[in-house]
């Protein structure tokens, strides 16, 4: 495919999804807090007979103990591998027999169990989800299997320059914070993890009062409430308050790193910390990022790819998380041209702060961010992902409307101001993967 800009949209997903149109004051979802603290979100989409469910728990890699890197990831991977009622293979066969799926996994901030099934199989699907969430057994043999599999996957990922660069960059950008460590851990750290570590982590982190459940599709609010209450209503809330990880703070200095690989291209990645979605600067930053490297009309795309033929992929993107955020720029170019592309990116970063963006560039970015919103909520699965994410970040169901309004108000002066604040080339860490000197 040719222009490779679709990928970027995934990264700005949350931001862009939030730009939901307010027209008709359609309510995105029904929200209620169950007695044990679970936040339940329900969106009725009756036209297609399927249901998507997400259970998000605040149990991501940010909670990994310093000497237990990869623990949340391993726990997520083993979560569906055995429950009080079924072995992992029995669970797989049960859901796949009806053409559905039940998956679990961890990200930086959270652990999510996802289920998709046809409406007629909703009871089975919800039974499996509740078994997985409430009664996982973490069998010893399954933990060992997953440890070996994750170690092999980490080894293989070392051949992907983009993954190698992103890992190295996170280490620099979030030095001293859990975000600086890879979610999947390292081969060594994963090798040290035990079944007891997994069980203890889940026992301590999975709790109803930090859990969000979204039910989206051919289901009514009453039905969803009844089914969720029947399965999760007796999940007891612990007395102690949930743990709160530290917020990321900027490391004292920026650094450069290079990783040698025998490749024909160099992968270049600039990165720094940026702002959360709750920060007023977030909206002009989203616009600035789109102008700089967001789409196929962006400055970097135009200069590096279209005018110079130096890269197939060149992007910038903001990644807001719960306890920190980053902004990054990336390009892949033939080895000999890496210094030229690095210089171009630095120049374009600086230019964003030096002069105001043109009206058409500004208009395009804002209209795109606002106007493309409905495209990204066009399936039940996407709606469910969006709902649990905005709830977990504490953005509120009206965030969509607010986002649209705030993006709409961003001016060229705002963009220049945030670019001056965040795009100073010297404030970026830099990683290059490829043939290095």
């Amino acid at each position: 495919m040719i222009r490779g800009r679709v990928g970027l949209l995934c990264v700005v997903l949350l931001a862009s999804l939030a730009a939901r149109a307010t027209a008709g004051a359609a309510v995105l979802a029904h929200r209620e807090v169950l007695p044990n603290g679970i936040v339940l979100l329900v969106a009725e989409r009756p036209a297609v007979p399927i249901v998507a469910v997400r259970v998000l728990m605040r149990a991501g890699a940010v909670y990994d103990p310093a000497d237990r890197g990869g623990l949340a990831n391993l726990t997520g991977a083993v979560l569906t591998r055995g429950t009080a009622k079924r072995t992992g293979p029995e669970l797989d066969t049960a859901i796949e027999f009806v053409g559905g799926s039940v998956e679990a996994g961890a990200s930086r901030d959270s652990m999510t169990v996802s289920m998709t099934a046809q409406k007629k199989d909703l009871t089975l699907g919800l039974d499996l989800v509740s078994e997985v969430v409430l009664t996982p057994t973490f069998p010893e043999a399954e933990v060992s299997r997953k440890v070996a599999e994750i170690q092999a996957a980490i080894k293989r990922s070392e051949e992907d320059p983009g993954t190698v660069a992103a890992r190295a960059l996170s280490r620099l950008v979030f030095e001293g914070h859990p975000y600086g460590r890879p979610v999947e851990g390292t081969r060594e750290s994963v090798g040290r993890l035990t079944r007891d570590d997994v069980a203890k982590f889940y026992r301590e982190r999975a709790r109803p009062d930090t859990t969000v459940v979204a039910v989206v599709g051919a289901v009514t609010v009453d039905e969803a409430r009844r089914e969720i209450m029947a399965r999760f209503g007796s999940w007891a809330r612990p007395a102690d308050p949930p743990a709160t990880p530290p917020m990321a703070t900027a490391p004292p200095a920026t650094r450069e790193d290079s990783v040698k690989r025998e490749l024909t291209q160099s992968t270049i990645m600039f990165g720094r910390q940026a702002v959360l979605q709750t920060d007023p600067d977030y909206f002009p930053l989203a616009v600035a990022s789109y102008v700089l490297g967001g789409g196929s009309a962006s400055r970097l795309y135009t200069r590096v790819r279209e005018e110079s033929g130096l890269a197939y992929s060149v992007y910038s993107w903001a990644s807001p998380w719960r306890y920190g955020a980053s902004f990054a720029v990336s390009a892949q170019t033939r080895t000999a041209e890496a210094p030229k592309v690095i210089a171009m990116i630095r120049e374009e970063l600086a230019r964003m702060g030096r002069e105001p963006v043109a009206e058409r560039e500004l208009g395009l970015a804002k209209q795109y961010l606002i106007g493309s919103f409905p495209l990204r909520l066009d399936t039940s699965g996407k709606v469910a992902d969006f709902l649990v994410a905005i709830e977990d970040r504490g953005l509120g169901l009206d965030y969509a409307d607010r986002y649209k309004e705030r993006i709409g108000k961003v001016t060229a002066a705002d963009v220049q101001r945030v670019a001056g604040k965040y795009f100073t080339a010297s404030a970026f860490n830099l990683v290059v993967v490829g043939e290095t000197k």
Binding site: G4, E158, E306, S372
Partner: protein, 449 residues
Amino acid sequence: MIHRPPRGGRYNRTVRIAILLLLIVSLLVPSSAPAADRVVAATLDNGLRVLLLEDPRSPIVSFQVWYRVGSRNEHRGSTGIAHFLEHLMFKGTPSHGPKQFARLVEENGGQDNAFTSQDVTSYYVDIAADKIDLIIDLEADRMQNLLLDPKEITSEREVVIEERRTRTEDDPGGFLGEEVSSIAFKAHPYGAPIIGWMEDIRRVTPEEIRAFYKAYYVPNNAIVVAVGAFRAADVLEKIKKRFGRIPRGKTPPPLLAIEPVQNGERRVSVTKQAELPIVYMAWHVPNYKSDDSVALELLSTILSGGRASRLYRDLVYQRQLALEAGGDNSYFSIDPNLFWFWATPMPGQTPEKLEAELSAHMERLKTEPVTDEELARAKNQVEAAFVYQEDSVHQRASLLARFELAGGYAMKDSFLTKIRALTAADLTRVARTWFVPERKSVGVLLPKP
């Protein structure tokens, strides 16, 4: 980790097959409801085929133009030309300058992209339904009036070369896939990579690209598909008005090459910087024109549709010989193509071992009927996937186009009927017929020490 954008799309389903599996399954799955009944289909006087389906659930539309041209229409020495032209379709016409396509779409809140496969080149825009006039105008314009400025070609050539480096030169899976395809086909253009050989990308001239555009980008070689919140009658009128002006072109030249029957196993082995070996096995199989291909679809689901599937359950889960393993059929291929098997050995396991294990699974399919549970599960998975794809207007449009290319969008409905009718004995017979050693090509990638 800093979240990085996944690469935008793909041009080749055989590269990194594993990752594409879910997508392919979803493409394969026509709608269970008789959606075909509601499709408004028309062929304009100039030969343009139009398929429209009203779907009012979201205020959006997926508007797609599919040209019946891909790498199969290329010749030795100028491989990659279809894909190169796809890039140049974004480089403007006299009325919409070089950078205007993307700008206009983004300014209107739309997302557009394109892909080239062995058989087709497809362009799509997903956008608010009230912007459909703009998209009709843009697509009709570039069907006929592409600039193909030599200056733009020069700079875009470098972009395509970088794309090739990313996808093939620096990607072990992509690299090996290309090698296996090239030994599997001696006569048919499916043996050449979609992106083209590096030497051809460097050489191909603006004149050749222009001639290719003139030959294949004609209304009588294209399908327009739109699904979304519109009135089909209105949109059909608009399409007639705008696309109807474009004159019918000459019928594009037929592809004459027929792949001769393979007479013995073929092998290729490559060494590259990589962390783990890769094994690919590919068998020549029939396409949608044969009912055996429907059985191959089900076999592919039984082998690798989910965690209860045979290859995952045995090689990845129970015996931990592979990090991943799967199989994939080429149902929609315009000419007969390959059924792929692949595996990545776990550290400490050899590619020889995995090749033997994949072969053993193949032999088992020939000698032992699949169980009733396996058969029912695979059928249910295919049927459910039909229902899931109904949720996205983009997927609905793509699927209509796929079936139309394979002989008619109404085939959507008979596909599922054929799936339901398959028996375990059918699958055994089909496995015996097609998975014979003489029709096999094997590729092994070994990490450079």
